[in-house]
Symmetry: C2
Subunit: 335 residues, 2 copies
C-alpha cells in the first residue's frame, strides 16, 4: 500500500455556527494496515445533526472530538488490503471511520454490508443509524399504538422521513413539520404523510390545532425550540414526547431555549423521554431486517440527498444540514 490519506480534522472548537476555520484539511501518508487489521478507501460519508454536539467540549453520550483529531463520522468503506481473517479486499464495511479517504481498522464496531442487497449509501441512512433511531425511538421510546396521531419535526430529514413512514405502516395518522413547500410536498405526495406543516410559512400552533384536533399521542422531536413548545401545547392525554435531537438549538451561542410550557406534561399526564440509539445496538439486526422488508415491499421510500465530492467538501456539506438544505439523508459520495 502506498499513497496518501486526505483527512478533515477539528482545528478549533466552533462557537455558534460552524466556520471554515474550524477545520484543518490535512494530507497524511497512507500506511499499511498491519497484522489483524484491514485498510480501505472511503466510499460514502454520513452527515448527521449529532455531529454538532460532538464538537463541543462538554460531557455527553460520547466524548467530544478532540482538537486535532480526525472528525468523527460514520462511513462505508471498501476494503483494499487486509491482514484480518474476517475481511477481504472488495468487502464493504460500515463503521465510525471518520472524515478521511483512507481507513485502517481492526474490525471492532464495524459491520460488513452487501451492495447487492441495497445501495451502499442506504447503510448510512434507512438501514443505518437514522433507520435505527427512527425505529427504536418511535416504537420503543414512543410506544406507538395503532390509530394514534403522530407528529414528527425535521420530517423531511433522515430520521423524520422514516419516523413518519413507519408510523403510517403502523396504522397511525401522521403529521410532518418541515421547512418549505418543496419538503412538505415530498412528505404528503411521496411519503404518504396525512399532512405537512411548513414551519417557515405557517403558525405551527394553529396548524397543529387543525391537523391534530384530538391532540398528539406521540411527538417525535428532532428540532427543539419553538416547535417543541407548539407540540407540547397540543398533547393528548398520556402522550409521549420522544426527544431525539434539537437541531434548531445546536448552533446557539446563547442558552438553549427550554420549553416554557413543560407543565403541559402534568396537565396531560404525559412523558418526555430522551434516548440514544447506541443503547439498542443488540437489536439493530431485528430493526434492519424489518426496515429492509418494508423497503422491498415499497412501503418505505428511501429519501437521500447525495453530494458528490471529496473529504474537502465535508465542512460545506455539513453546513447544508444546519441550514435545512437537505431532503432526506445527507451523504457525501466519494465514489
Amino acid at each position: 500500500m502506498s499513497g496518501t490519506n486526505r483527512q478533515i480534522r477539528l482545528a478549533r472548537r466552533p462557537v455558534g455556527e460552524l466556520q471554515p476555520e474550524d477545520w484543518a484539511h490535512v494530507t497524511e501518508p497512507a500506511e499499511a494496515p498491519g497484522e489483524g487489521r484491514f485498510a480501505g478507501r472511503t466510499r460514502y460519508i454520513s452527515l448527521d445533526p449529532a455531529m454538532r454536539g460532538w464538537l463541543d467540549d462538554r460531557p455527553s453520550y460520547l466524548p467530544p472530538v478532540g482538537l486535532g483529531e480526525v472528525m468523527r463520522a460514520g462511513s462505508v468503506i471498501e476494503v483494499t488490503e487486509s491482514d484480518h481473517p474476517g475481511f477481504r479486499p472488495g468487502d464493504h464495511v460500515v463503521g465510525t471511520f471518520g472524515v478521511q479517504e483512507y481507513v485502517i481498522s481492526d474490525g471492532r464496531g464495524t459491520l460488513k454490508v452487501d451492495p447487492a442487497r441495497a445501495p451502499l449509501s442506504t447503510y448510512l441512512g434507512a438501514l443505518g443509524m437514522p433507520g435505527m433511531t427512527a425505529y427504536f425511538g418511535l416504537l420503543d421510546v414512543g410506544a406507538l399504538k395503532e390509530g394514534e396521531t403522530v407528529v414528527v419535526s425535521g420530517a423531511a430529514g433522515a430520521v423524520g422521513s422514516l419516523v413518519g413512514q413507519i408510523a403510517k405502516i403502523k396504522g397511525c395518522r401522521v403529521i410532518g413539520i418541515a421547512g418549505g413547500p418543496d419538503k412538505c410536498a415530498v412528505l404528503t405526495d411521496e411519503l404518504g404523510f396525512d399532512a405537512a406543516i411548513d414551519y417557515r410559512a405557517e403558525d405551527v400552533r394553529k396548524a397543529l390545532r387543525t391537523h391534530a384536533p384530538d391532540g398528539i399521542d406521540v411527538y417525535f422531536d428532532n428540532v427543539g425550540g419553538e416547535i417543541l413548545e407548539a407540540a407540547l401545547g397540543r398533547l393528548a392525554m398520556r402522550a409521549r414526547v420522544v426527544i431525539c435531537g434539537a437541531i434548531s438549538q445546536y448552533n446557539n451561542e446563547t442558552a438553549v431555549h427550554g420549553p416554557a410550557n413543560y407543565l403541559s406534561l402534568l396537565v396531560r399526564r404525559a412523558r418526555m423521554e430522551g434516548f440514544v440509539v447506541f443503547d439498542y445496538s443488540a437489536r439493530y439486526g431485528e430493526a434492519a431486517r424489518e426496515i429492509a422488508g418494508w423497503i422491498a415491499e415499497g412501503r418505505i421510500k428511501v429519501l437521500e440527498h447525495v453530494v458528490k465530492g471529496g473529504v474537502d467538501d465535508f465542512p460545506a456539506t455539513l453546513g447544508m444540514l444546519f441550514r435545512g438544505e437537505n431532503t432526506g439523508k445527507l451523504v457525501l459520495d466519494l465514489t
Copy 2:
C-alpha cells in the same frame, strides 16, 4: 337549621401574586340540606399550591374557579344535619367543599373519616391528597427502586416531606431541597433525610454534586425553575423526573421558565413525566392504608403547619404557602 355561611369567593382573576382584592368575603344564609343531602360545619380547610393554577382562566386538569364562585378547597366537615341515609350528625367527612363555613352535599366524591384513627387534619395531609400525591408520584410515576438516590424539591412541604420519608422506607438515599436552615434541619434531624440543601443559601448545582456524586435516579419536582434545571444537570442514567408542580412559577407574570437543559434527558436516557393524583383515585384506599401503617409504626412523621382562624383568614394563609412560610402541610383550623 338556621344561621349564616361565611364564604370566600373569587372576585377577580389574579395577575402575578395574589392580592386581597382578588377575593370577596361574603355572608349567605345557611339553608337546610333538603332530601338526599346533608349539611355540616367546616373544621379544617386545606391550602395547596395547586390552588394558584385553579384561579387562572386557562384549560388545565380541572376547570378554573369561576368568577364569583366559592373558592375550591378540600376540607373536613362535621355533619350537623342530614337527610341522607349514609351520613349522620357527628360524622366527619372529607370532600372538595370549598372555602366556606357551612356546607351542603349529596355525598358524592366525599369520604367519611374517623377522628379516632387519626387527627382530622391528617386527612387533608398525609392521609389525603398530599399523601396520595407523594405515594403514587414516587412509587408509580417515579418507579422507585431500592438503593436509588432520590432528590425532592419543596422537601419541607406537604408532599415533599412525605416523598422523602417514603423513599427512606424504600431503602433509598434521600436529599431534600428546601428554603432556610430551619426547614433543612427538620429534614435531616426529624425526618431522616440523608442530606438537605438550602436553596436560599447554597449553590444547588454544587450541593447536588456533593450529595449525589453518582447522579440522581429519581427527581421529584414540586418547584420548577432553576432548581429543576440544577437537578436535570445531575441526572443518573435512566433517571425519572416526576413533575408534580412548579410552585416557583405559579405567580409569574411573565412566561414560565422552561428547563434550558432538557436535552440532558437525551444524554442520560431519562424521562420527565407529569401526573395528576386524581387519576389514582381507585387506588387511594391502598395508599392510605399503607401510609397509615407507616405513621402507626413511627416510620412517617406527619409535619403539619396549622393556622387557627376563620375562612376570612384564607387569603392571608394562602399567601404563606407561596412565600414558603409553612413547614409541612398547611391547614386552616376552624375548630
